[in-house]
Amino acid sequence: SGSSGADESTLTVSAAASLTESFTELATQFEADHPGTTVRLNFGGSSSLAEQVVSGAPVDVFASASRTTMDTVVEAGAAADDAPTFTTNSMTIAVPSANRANLTSIADLAKPGVRVAECAPEVPCGAAARKTLQNAGVTVTPVTLDPDVKTVLGRVAAGEVDAGLVYVTDIRTANVAAIPIPADVAATNEYAITVVKASPQQDLARQFVDFVAGPTGQQVLATYGFGTP
């Protein structure tokens, strides 16, 4: 459960998997600012986290990688506030570091024989990928429509596809290089955060949300490639 006494308290934060590194750093700073507080982080796919929150999982703060997913939580009455957008993320092209297909721009994705992975249109990253390609006026037939961005990234890292459409913040491993997409073409995604209504420690949770949305939070997020809302 969320709290365990007056001095010692544990704050449970469920956050989208793409926030893993940034939130880990933020949590450490938050703990330093609030002695006696431990932040327990629970990362996962936004929608399964949302499902858990709605089902009564012992969570104090929920950060979603998708506006739509957050809306379901708000509609279910599980959020304590209106869940503001706190950061954004935009599309880029991930290629294996060797880049054997010699891709240099988004237009190259349409070349014959180029294997492209993208998310399924039903999920946020897929919708964003589709929109990006539309904006660029490029027609691509992907070899797979994956359920989440980490699967796409995995394929790029393993060299099984020549390119994958992912978020800027996903380009973190050495095996993967990015081919930037012009800002006016790349679609962006909104991240939302809320205090969970059932949380027994509303104050502490509120402090964490404010901390993330505040200057320190935004600065840390920016170092990982996130944009400002």
């Binding site: 796919g45 936004s46 929608s47 399964s48 997913t69 294997r115 992975a117 399924a120 039903e122 999920v123 992907p142 070899v143 797979t144 429509l145 994956d146 359920p147 699967t151 995995g154 394929r155 393993a158 060299g159 099984e160």
Partner: protein
């Protein structure tokens, strides 16, 4: 009256845990039925996408079961009949795919049969063949996770089968192949059937390794479980409807198989 005279009566110390087991397995299925969007079911059942995924699922799971049978039964026979194959390493090798989380299984399959894999690399360089993202890759992924069930079940049955019947066949002049075909196989037929059902069921439900190794493209590699997963985030009720399709189709197949399956099991 006859009820009282039956020689078999069911002792309570078996019935109590047995009923607990049934409740334990049955309640979730019942729960699924209760939250199911029955209204969506019919359109869902007949939607092009669902049918496509269902067809793909049936084709690949049956092919995977076939593949598992063709190479798995001989492996089981060797494991129970020869010293070399009976060693702990073969046994561990057969059991390990069971413990691998399916996604990691997919990673392992890529490492073996992917474009840069130890077998897939040469295949790509020399023949230009790429397995991932093809329907064949789905079959391979399903066979990889399903085969151990078949092998372990059949191996166990062979170990407890009476080898002396095989000796009797040999004294009647039956070649090894005849003995295998006309004595060994029929004797363990019930276990082969049971193992095949286990393997088929596992292949039909397979998700993680397929996704990682074969991808998820409608009509090519998106089997029913992948379609369910794809829908789970966004259209939960559609996902549940698809799950029901899977459950109902399997139930129909299992119940209609039953006659033959049980016939094999009878001694």
């Amino acid at each position: 009256m006859t009820g009282k005279r039956r020689t078999e009566s069911t002792p309570w110390y078996l019935v109590v845990p047995g009923v607990v087991a049934i409740a334990f397995l049955g309640l979730p299925l019942l729960g699924l039925l209760l939250i199911a969007p029955w209204g969506d079911l019919l359109p869902e059942l007949t939607s092009e996408e669902a049918l496509q995924a269902l067809r793909l699922s049936l084709i690949t799971s049956l092919s995977a079961t076939g593949l598992a049978l063709v190479v798995g039964v001989p492996l089981a026979v060797l494991m129970s009949r020869t010293r070399w194959f009976a060693g702990p390493w073969v046994r561990a090798l057969v059991t390990l795919p069971l413990v691998l989380p399916p996604v990691v299984g997919g990673v392992a399959l890529l490492a073996a049969f992917g474009r840069n894999g130890i077998a897939g690399g040469p295949l790509y360089e020399l023949a230009g063949v790429q397995l991932p993202f093809t329907t064949l890759a789905v079959v391979i992924a399903e066979a990889f996770v399903a085969m151990p069930f078949l092998v372990i079940t059949v191996d166990g049955a062979l170990r407890s089968a009476d080898r002396r019947l095989e000796q009797a066949a040999a004294t009647l002049g039956a070649s090894r192949w005849t003995v295998f075909r006309r004595v060994t196989l029929p004797l363990i037929a019930p276990s082969i059937a049971a193992g095949a059902v286990l393997a088929w069921a596992r292949a039909l439900g397979e998700f993680g390794a397929t996704l990682t190794f074969a991808g998820s493209f409608p009509g090519v590699t998106r089997t029913l479980p992948l379609a369910i997963y794809a829908a789970l985030d966004v259209q939960r009720s559609q996902a549940i409807a698809l799950s029901l399709v899977l459950v109902i189709v399997s139930a129909v197949i299992l119940v209609s198989l039953r006659g033959q399956f049980l016939a094999g099991m009878r001694r």
